[in-house]
């Protein structure tokens, strides 16, 4: 057999990890990366720091400048994949050219899902996913003074803090009653909210946007008018939607591949079509805690999935080690907050134990089911987070030492055995 042709659609977390792993496993294979974006791989997670003016574009790169050359990777950047012809094993690019593959990885990530709000369309409305979004936001930020952020999730809050650091007047509007509603509970969210007092954001919780009036033009002085459910009007030069994401499945829609919310993959990152793999925000995997298929749109999962996909693409079978599906950590100002697994259980059979010392910005909550950890929230002190995640993943029975874990004095030394 000749050299194997690997094609990767994407140039983000999953794609880069896959490419470098492929090269390590197969010295002579041909690796081609296709990306709709120009330029080397960068960290989307650092876009808020770029918006805040703390990092420049070069600082966002996740690999050294000679990465592609050093790994012998052919790059087709600035080209969008529009279709995959699984029968003839080729990727179709915008403009009609084709790239043949023996093994293909879909690592196209996700896009902003704009909320369906009447009138929410026009100049000065942005998502924050790509460097190009961030550049456009900065452009308007140079002219405007006010920004409204829709959604107090991770991306929304990071964008809000970044723009506030630039000196903008920022208002965050969130339908749910507290910050980071998907990750935190009211107690942890309150610690975070007080931490953010030091940044100077206005936060309107428990209210949605009823209707939006876009500015007439895009030039200087163009102002949005948002009518909230509570009757208040918010006026701002820019609106950033951060209410959710949508996996970029478009290039494979015509293939008949099994797609649920994302592309469903098995434990080896294989899609339902032979020799096509998927990894990252675009893929749907099984959550080890709940057993349910879910999107895991975080960096950690994307790179791990990219790495595992590469082993399998290179003909070296390897299973996804199924890390806990929800793993988020963020420090927006002074207090780090972190959420793992099922942090807000609906299931009455779960046991919840917590330590709450708001004056010290400390909160530690553990969620147990049948003696095993299934979820946790940590605020203020995140030291042992990785051990908690490992215990959760292993479904270890922690009933004998749950109080020790809750106290914060637990460490992996307790698990060391001799003999």
């Amino acid at each position: 057999m000749g050299k194997k042709r690997y094609v990767i659609i994407g140039n983000g977390a999953a794609a880069i990890r896959a490419a470098e792993t492929l090269r390590a496993l197969d010295e002579s294979g041909c690796i081609t990366m296709v990306s709709r974006e120009q330029g080397p791989a960068y960290s989307r997670c650092m876009l808020p720091a770029f918006l805040a003016g703390e990092k420049n574009e070069d600082d966002l790169r996740i690999r050294a400048g000679d990465f592609y050359e050093k790994h012998g990777i052919k790059t087709l950047f600035g080209s969008r994949a529009v279709d995959v012809d699984a029968g003839r094993r080729c990727v179709v690019l915008e403009g009609g050219s084709r790239v043949d593959y023996d093994s293909l990885l879909i690592a196209t990530g996700s896009s902003t899902a704009f909320p369906a709000i009447k009138g929410l369309e026009g100049p000065g409305l942005f998502g924050l996913r790509d460097l190009s979004d961030a550049r456009k936001i900065l452009d308007v930020a140079g002219r405007g003074r006010r920004a409204v952020i829709l959604g107090a999730g991770l991306v929304g809050l990071e964008a809000a803090v970044a723009l506030a650091r630039r000196g903008m007047e920022v208002t965050v509007v969130e339908k749910m009653p507290h910050l980071l509603p998907r990750q935190l509970d009211p107690a942890a969210a309150e610690i975070l909210r007080r931490d953010l007092d030091g940044v100077g954001l206005r936060m309107i919780m428990g209210t949605g946007v009823q209707e939006a009036a876009a500015p007439e033009s895009s030039g200087a002085g163009a102002v949005w008018d948002l009518l909230l459910d509570n009757g208040e009007h918010l006026r701002a030069e820019m609106v950033i939607a951060a209410t959710g994401i949508r996996p970029n499945v478009d290039p494979v829609l015509g293939t008949g591949m099994r797609i649920n919310r994302g592309i469903t993959v098995d434990g080896r990152m294989r899609t339902s079509i032979p020799e096509i793999y998927a990894a990252g925000d675009v893929a749907e995997t099984r959550d080890v805690i709940t057993g349910v298929r879910m999107l895991t749109p975080t960096w950690l999962h994307a790179s791990l999935q990219g790495m595992i996909a590469a082993w399998n693409m290179a003909g070296r079978p390897r299973l996804y080690p199924e890390p806990v599906g929800i793993q988020n950590v963020v420090q927006l100002h002074r207090v780090p907050v972190l959420a793992l697994g099922v942090s807000n259980p609906q299931d009455a059979s779960c046991e919840v134990i917590a330590i709450h010392r708001p004056a010290e910005n400390l909160y530690r909550k553990l969620v147990l089911k049948d003696g095993a950890l299934v979820g946790a929230i940590l605020a203020g002190d995140i030291r042992m987070a990785g051990i908690l995640a490992a215990l959760m993943r292993r479904k270890a029975d922690v009933s004998g030492f749950k109080d020790l874990i809750l106290s914060g004095d637990f460490h992996c030394g307790y698990l060391a055995r001799t003999g």
Binding site: I62, W299, L300, R383, L391
Partner: protein
Amino acid sequence: MCRPGKLEGVDVKAVMVYLDRCYGCLTCSLACAAAHSASGTITGAMRERVPGRILVEAAGKQPVPILCRHCDDAPCVNACMIGAMQQDPVTGLVSNEGHTQACAGCWMCIMACPYGAIVQAPRGERMALKCDGCRGRETPACVMACPNGALAYVEVDDFAGERRLKLAFCLAEDMTRDSRAYGG
């Protein structure tokens, strides 16, 4: 198990912990702090408030040195969203220092490390601290300093044999490859 990029004929060494010889004297941790301080001395490190990157924690009556295992396919490397945490393909050392990308202090590695071996830098600095294997030293400072031989710097291949005999620590074994274990 092979590490992609691992060179044939290059000895990869790792720190082995013999729990039964550890008395919890903390000398390793102090020596580590000294090695990572500007002054290079223990008193200097205390003055500069440099933390040790090897922790010694009590598990009941048993002190346990906790340090980075420099796992292959380390969870911290996959978690690092800026590419600062990398594994050296030759030495196998995992570190977030000395690369093009600077650590941003996002704490993703802390969330990912199943050993709890990565800590936040003191005084609110946005930087994750972990064992860097004392790059540039023949033998890591902690191993040199241990008065009881509880820490040994051994070749990984010997180590694997040893591990089979005295397997101790298994929290992350199926997640990483070749994670260096504890022995008793």
